[in-house]
């Protein structure tokens, strides 16, 4: 047993942390919060140059083909910001969906652009029913001239306002899993994307108004969309969890520093056992998320059955980030709700990711199923 990072993972961590400190300190992250698009072109170009957008994409398609656990090191660092941008949406979920679902031709056409950052591809799964299962997919295209016409809405689609490409999960048959994936140009006539306002981070509405796509837009085979998505999700979810772990870690470090520097009643507030309790609660959540996530990553990277672990990791991480932020708010009191301080960006992200790719209840049920109880 060896639970340490490898040497190359340590190097990646250092590089990513240096990048974050230089390019995305608190004021930058806070400054980006209100933007309609999560993509900041300067940051995006630099990240592309570092090879981060193609980290999971095999070398033959222009990426570096790293393992999930390598990518997780990077995503933890991004989560510390929390750095906005379609890094996960395009570089992880988008790339893995294309890898799992597309034909060889389509992979060759799409993946190099995702790796270089020229294409930003986000996957549109959920609808107003906010369900992450195949049954929730009701948007059904009409067949027309050998192609498809789309009318309807996808909701809570992450980073859609910065996307150039969409992969849209659509219903093409009666069976629950009869779902297909369509590749749609995000700027095609009839496609509108809009960031939803409120206490959520770059979750968008995507509307389709008589959007016509050719037959070639079908990603892979008809009716095989859910199978592909399920595979992609199983590998993507732990990376979202890694991003969450990074978020929890940052919130923890901020809180520890604050307990040491904030003085009330003549002493640093860390001297109060009540404050210590908040930090203890926080670190317990952080570590729960960290170790469930990393075990799931290890199982996936070593080809072990990982489904139950993946569901457990997301159930734990979703709750951990929310609770970690709550604890951090208790520690910081007034300072924590001041937008410029930066904790609120995590809090908003923790609420957003609570549900994104499935909330704890959803994952607990699937975990129980996977364990065949």
């Amino acid at each position: 047993m060896d639970l340490a990072l490898t040497e190359s993972q340590e190097m990646l961590r250092t590089a990513a942390r240096t990048f974050m400190e230089r390019e995305a300190p608190v004021d930058v992250v806070v400054g980006l919060q209100k933007a309609e698009s999560s993509l900041e072109p300067g940051l995006w170009r630099k990240a592309a140059k570092l090879g981060w957008l193609g980290i999971l994409i095999p070398t033959e398609y222009g990426g570096s083909g790293d393992r999930l656990s390598d990518a997780a090191v990077l995503y933890e660092e991004l989560g510390r910001g929390p750095l906005p941008g379609p890094f996960f949406s395009s570089g992880v979920l988008g790339a893995l969906t294309v890898l799992e679902g597309a034909t060889e031709d389509q992979r060759r056409r799409l993946l190099p652009g995702i790796a270089s950052g020229e294409r930003v591809l986000t996957v549109a799964i959920t609808e107003p029913n906010a369900s992450w299962g195949p049954a929730g997919i009701t948007l059904a295209p009409q067949g027309k001239n050998g192609g498809y016409t789309l009318n309807g809405t996808k909701l809570f689609v992450s980073d859609a306002t910065s996307a150039t490409d969409l992969v849209v999960a659509v219903r093409t048959g009666e069976g629950t899993n009869d779902v297909s994936l369509l590749h749609v140009d995000a700027r095609a006539p009839g496609v509108t994307t809009r960031r939803l306002p409120g206490f959520l981070s770059w979750q968008c509405e995507v509307s389709f108004d008589n959007v016509e796509v050719e037959r070639a837009a079908l990603l892979g085979e008809a009716q095989r969309g859910w199978a592909a998505l399920a595979k992609a999700l199983e590998r993507a979810v732990p990376l979202l969890c890694a991003y969450i772990v990074g978020g929890c870690q940052a919130v923890y470090e901020k809180s520890v520093v604050y307990t040491q520097t904030r003085v009330q009643f003549g002493v640093p507030i860390g001297r109060f056992q009540r404050v210590q309790d908040h930090v203890v609660r926080l670190v317990n959540h952080l570590d729960s998320a960290r170790w469930t996530t990393w075990e799931a990553l290890w199982k996936l990277d070593t080809g072990r059955p990982a489904t139950a672990s993946v569901h457990m990791a997301k159930a734990v991480a979703s709750e951990a980030y929310l609770e970690a932020c709550n604890a951090a708010h208790e520690v910081h009191a007034g300072m924590g709700v001041l937008i410029e301080y930066g904790l609120a960006a995590h809090t908003q992200m923790s609420r957003t990711l609570f549900h994104f790719l499935g909330d704890p209840r959803w994952h607990k049920r699937r975990m129980a199923d996977a364990l065949e109880w």
Binding site: A130, G198, F199, L200, F265, R361
Partner: protein, 415 residues
């Protein structure tokens, strides 16, 4: 024991009178959700006008002594008023007036007769609104540590300098109720003083703070919080309430009320709207309230809001029946704060991401769920954190110290 408030013939007549009056005098427009800062200000002016008409009838501060311009009504009449105003989703006062509520109560206990006569009627009649200014960058929970804002005696005046943070609301204020340091070298608890001052004096500057939310104190959302700077602000010595360096005893009254000692009656608006939302919103053709998971969550939420309501009713009764109190004030605060924070997660899990958006199509009516998501977190801090409430409770229960601490005095003058 009787939980039901029973009404005499006369009280029922009073309810009919109040209801008819409110229906005739509360403009429907005040219930709108403002669309712009200008609209927000317009709405505020309408609420202030309503406050003045209520004040003229003695219904703004119903139980305040009539001889200082209050309603002079008993608790049963006050309950009726609160309930009737609540039907319009309003509270009394119908706008943010924290310094009015807490300042007037403190002045009633600790002010001189001249001060009561001079300062209270305009509050009770709704002619002024008042912010409370306690917190400083270095003094939050440690209110006795107020040091940055000072007042120095100069002839018949005091001169105030310093800074307060996390205070006030949108749309400005007429008066300020504030605690300052009047003896920088003095001992802790013996160096503070309270002032009720005019907010429009030269040297006062107000700058908005961008916060994640502003809480919903006293049923009215302050909208925004401010940093207030004092630069050689000259105030008459008459504005000093409770005596120079005697501010700590005044603070105990102020804090007792702020910490929930006064209690609260009335509906839980978040619960009411949440239930309605879940009954009216369908997912996969079935109302949310009919889905078993969501029913389970709603049941948990309902139980907590009921316990909170009962703590509020108990404190209300203890206050107005003039019964002794110990830990009950901070207990209500603690329960309200921890429940609000817990509810952010419970609602998010029950309703899903629609709870997070203010979108007019996909969010809840007026974005009330999204507001709860933010305010449930933010409300943990104003008026003392959950930790401070627990410190208070423990002291008053009498654990950890040889003497049991008494609750602050909240009655004064001739009620």
């Amino acid at each position: 024991m009787d939980f039901e408030v029973t009404y005499t013939e006369e009280q029922q007549r009073f309810r009919r009178e109040v209801r008819a009056w409110l229906e005739a005098n509360v403009p429907a427009s005040v219930q709108r959700i403002p669309l712009s800062p200008e609209d927000n200000y317009q709405r505020y002016l309408e609420l202030r006008a309503l406050g003045r008409t209520l004040g003229a009838k003695g219904w703004l501060y119903a139980t305040a002594p009539a001889k200082y311009g209050g309603g002079g009504l008993d608790v049963d009449h006050a309950i009726i008023l609160e309930e009737e105003v609540d039907r319009f989703d309003l509270s009394l006062p119908p706008y943010y007036d924290s310094g009015g509520r807490l300042g007037s109560a403190s002045i009633l206990v600790w002010g001189t007769e001249e001060q009561r006569q001079a300062l209270l009627p305009s509050i009770y009649k709704g002619e002024v609104r008042t912010w409370q200014l306690l917190t400083e960058p270095g003094a939050g929970s440690d209110l006795a540590g107020v040091r940055m804002t000072t007042a120095v005696r100069d002839g018949d005046d005091y001169v105030i300098n310093g800074q307060k943070i996390f205070v006030g609301s949108d749309n400005g204020t007429d008066r300020i109720w504030m605690i300052v340091n009047t003896d920088p070298k003095g001992k802790r608890h013996e160096n503070l003083s309270w002032f009720m001052i005019d907010a429009n004096l030269p040297g006062i500057t107000v700058r908005p703070m961008e916060l994640m939310g502003t809480g919903g104190e006293g049923g009215t959302d302050s909208g925004v919080k401010q940093t207030v700077f004092f630069d050689d602000v000259r105030v008459p010595a008459f504005a000093l309430v409770g005596g120079e360096n005697k501010g700590w005893k005044v603070a105990t009254t102020h804090l007792e009320l702020e910490h929930g000692g006064g209690g609260r009656i009335g509906r839980n608006r978040v619960w009411d709207r949440l239930l309605r939302y879940c009954q009216e919103t369908k997912r996969d053709g079935v109302p949310l309230s009919q889905q078993q998971d969501i029913r389970d969550s709603l049941a948990d939420i309902y139980i907590k809001t009921e316990v909170q309501r009962l703590f509020g009713v108990r404190n209300f009764w203890l206050t107005y029946a003039r019964k002794p109190k110990s830990y009950e004030g901070p207990q209500l605060s603690y329960y309200r704060k921890t429940t609000g924070l817990w509810m952010t997660g419970a609602i998010l899990e029950a309703v899903g991401p629609a709870a997070l958006t203010t979108d007019t199509i996909w969010g809840s009516a007026g974005g009330f769920l999204e507001t709860q998501q933010r305010n449930g977190i933010v409300s943990v801090h104003p008026g003392g954190t959950t930790d401070i409430q627990r410190v208070q409770m423990a002291r008053r229960i009498g654990i950890g110290r040889s003497t049991r601490e008494a609750a602050g005095t909240v009655h004064g003058g001739d009620a």
